[in-house]
């Protein structure tokens, strides 16, 4: 399904880091006292790379992603997104965030939902470059549904709209927090394959949180496995499969070995 013409932007391992996290700690204050969600976490995401994040529930995967997105204050250490702090990166629109729910405005059509980021924010109206909303809807396979309201779309289609919306201002990094977690397996497979295609075609750096081991192995060039309470890096696994990846490859011995390794790490974590 991948076309040879698609400019495949494969990350060069020596490329500059898109995201670099050093000694990151995040603490939450609860009534019972402070809870350390993340404890001295460090890793780098290469530019143009696709990194998945796995970990037992409560290990702080989402917190880590939200700290990068400037949605959670950090207690210690540093995060850099293309050399900027999360706040600077947010204001510069360096990254986009895709939530587990599509989070669409129910009164706006698909195409108007995709355009929302162009209408708000400091740079609204003067966004330097942006993609056409219609083109993006086609990119995510929603050609002909531009004028549909969210309640007229299925769950998978709504999530596609939210991915198109994330891409509309051409972010350099796409942060995805279990975006397909609420979908059934068939739709999830389909969207996984399409996400890889979109990633290759746009050259965006992707960080993807999931709790599905096969999903983490299928999508990621690297997989960051976290351990729980407090969240620490268990292992940063390189995943090397022939490109482009196709769903059928999940039955190969190679793939099963990788998932077995990841699962082992999760059980120890």
């Amino acid at each position: 399904m991948t076309q040879g013409t698609a400019a495949a932007v494969v990350a060069d391992p020596a490329a500059a880091a898109a995201i670099s996290v050093r000694e990151l700690s995040v603490r939450f204050d609860t009534e019972a006292g402070g809870v350390t969600a993340l404890d001295r976490v460090g890793f780098e995401v290469p530019e143009g790379g696709f990194v998945t994040m796995l970990g037992p529930s409560g290990c702080g995967k989402s917190t880590l992603l939200r700290a990068i997105a400037d949605l959670v204050p950090i207690a210690g250490g540093a995060i850099e997104v293309f050399g900027r702090t999360p706040e600077q990166a947010r204001r510069a629109r360096d990254f986009a965030f895709v939530f587990q729910d599509a989070t669409l405005l129910p009164w706006r059509s698909a195409v108007d939902n995709v355009r929302l980021p162009l209408e708000v924010g400091r740079r609204a109206g003067q966004v330097k470059q942006h993609a056409e909303a219609e083109e993006l809807l086609a990119l995510v396979g929603l050609e002909g549904r531009e004028d549909a309201l969210p309640h007229e779309l299925s769950g998978g289609m709504r999530q596609r709209v939210s991915i198109a919306r994330a891409l509309v201002y051409r972010p350099r990094v796409l942060l995805m927090d279990e975006p397909f977690g609420a979908l059934d397996e068939l739709k999830r497979d389909k969207l996984n394959e399409e996400l890889l295609r979109i990633w290759r075609e746009t050259g965006t750096t992707v960080m993807f949180v999931t709790h599905s081991v096969p999903e983490a192995a299928f999508l990621g060039q690297k997989c960051l496995v976290l351990s729980a309470q407090p969240g620490r890096v268990r292992e940063y696994v390189d995943i090397e499969f022939a490109s482009p990846r196709v769903l059928g490859m999940r039955d190969t011995l190679e793939f099963v070995q990788v998932t077995a390794h990841l699962r082992g790490l999760l059980e120890e974590a």
Binding site: Q3, A6, A7, F97, A102, S154
Partner: protein, 300 residues
């Protein structure tokens, strides 16, 4: 780089997901063909049949009760000043229609003006409360306190303050609309999902942008719930205002008819007032249906 590569779009369009539009589109096309035009007529017919099926019991019950009323009043020879018969009330509409309509317009005007004034102030105040916690803490309890005073007790105060003209009636109608709208609007403006607010933060949106793009729209189902209440209570407010001190309007006509034992006129006035409230309510509902075409209350 992305623009060029996006040309290779749609490579992986999936066909497993439902595509309702395609169906509805072919349906729309079918409507146009002459052969299918009869089907459209049949649909209208069916809708009429469903309407009849649904509302016929209420219509028959109403007719039955009116008939019973007529029979009881006539059969027991109830004096007209105690309870007039439906026919006598109908006669008032025919013979004294000019008095009724003369007093109808002021009440309509007061109700509409009160509705507009009360709801506008409530909406503006709700927006202020949502953006300023201190203002909410300071004035919300006062709004609750004002609401607990019976309108019938406030009315004389307002007449003393504002005189005998339209002003006190409009203010009373506004006051009675105000509180439900304030409460609902504050809730509606706050009913934005936390995730939507996080999205707006990622987009570095300002409070003003969040208000205009998100909060106001998502509060509309809450606002209309309140407006439907207000659409009937504003008529009550206007009539109560006219009771206290006025020589025009349906409220004053009610008082006058009561003191002069003109029961048929009293009944006719009451029916006209109720009709006004119903008309107002139906109008609000129709506007709501137009404005809230997206599924109200649904969050995605």
């Amino acid at each position: 780089m992305a623009a060029a590569s996006m040309e290779g779009k749609g490579a992986g369009r999936d066909s497993t997901e439902p595509r309702p539009t395609r169906d509805s589109r072919s349906l729309r096309a079918a409507d146009v063909t002459a052969a299918e035009r009869n089907a459209g007529a049949a649909r209208v017919e069916r809708r009429g049949a469903r309407w009849r099926h649904r509302h016929a019991p209420a219509v028959f019950a109403a007719i039955g009760m009116l008939a019973l009323w007529q029979i009881v009043v006539a059969g027991f020879a109830v004096p007209t000043y105690i309870a007039p018969s439906p026919v006598q009330v109908l006669q008032v509409f025919v013979e004294q229609g000019d008095i009724l309509w003369l007093n109808f317009w002021p009440t309509l005007l007061e109700a509409v003006a009160g509705f507009a004034l009360g709801n506008s102030i409530a909406v503006v105040l709700a927006v202020w409360f949502v953006h300023n916690r201190l203002a909410e803490r300071a004035f919300y309890p006062i709004a609750v306190f004002v609401n607990t005073i019976p309108i019938i007790a406030v009315a004389p105060i307002l007449v003393l303050m504002l005189g005998n003209g339209y002003a006190p009636k409009i203010v009373i109608a506004a006051l009675i609309c105000f509180f439900p709208t304030l409460v609902n609007m504050v809730r509606g403006l706050k009913a934005v999902s936390p995730q939507m607010l996080e999205l707006m933060r990622v987009l570095s949106a300002s409070d003003r942008e969040i208000l205009w793009k998100i909060r106001l729209q998502s509060s509309l189902p809450f606002l209309f719930a309140a407006l439907k209440i207000a659409s009937t209570t504003c008529v009550i407010g206007a009539i109560v205002g006219e009771w206290i001190g006025s020589n025009y309007g349906l409220g004053s006509l009610i008082i006058e008819a009561t003191y002069n034992f003109r029961a048929p006129l009293l009944y006719a006035t009451v029916i006209l007032g109720a009709g006004l409230a119903v008309a107002f309510f139906v109008t609000t509902t129709l506007v709501e249906r137009r404005v809230l075409k997206w599924k109200p209350g649904a969050v995605f």
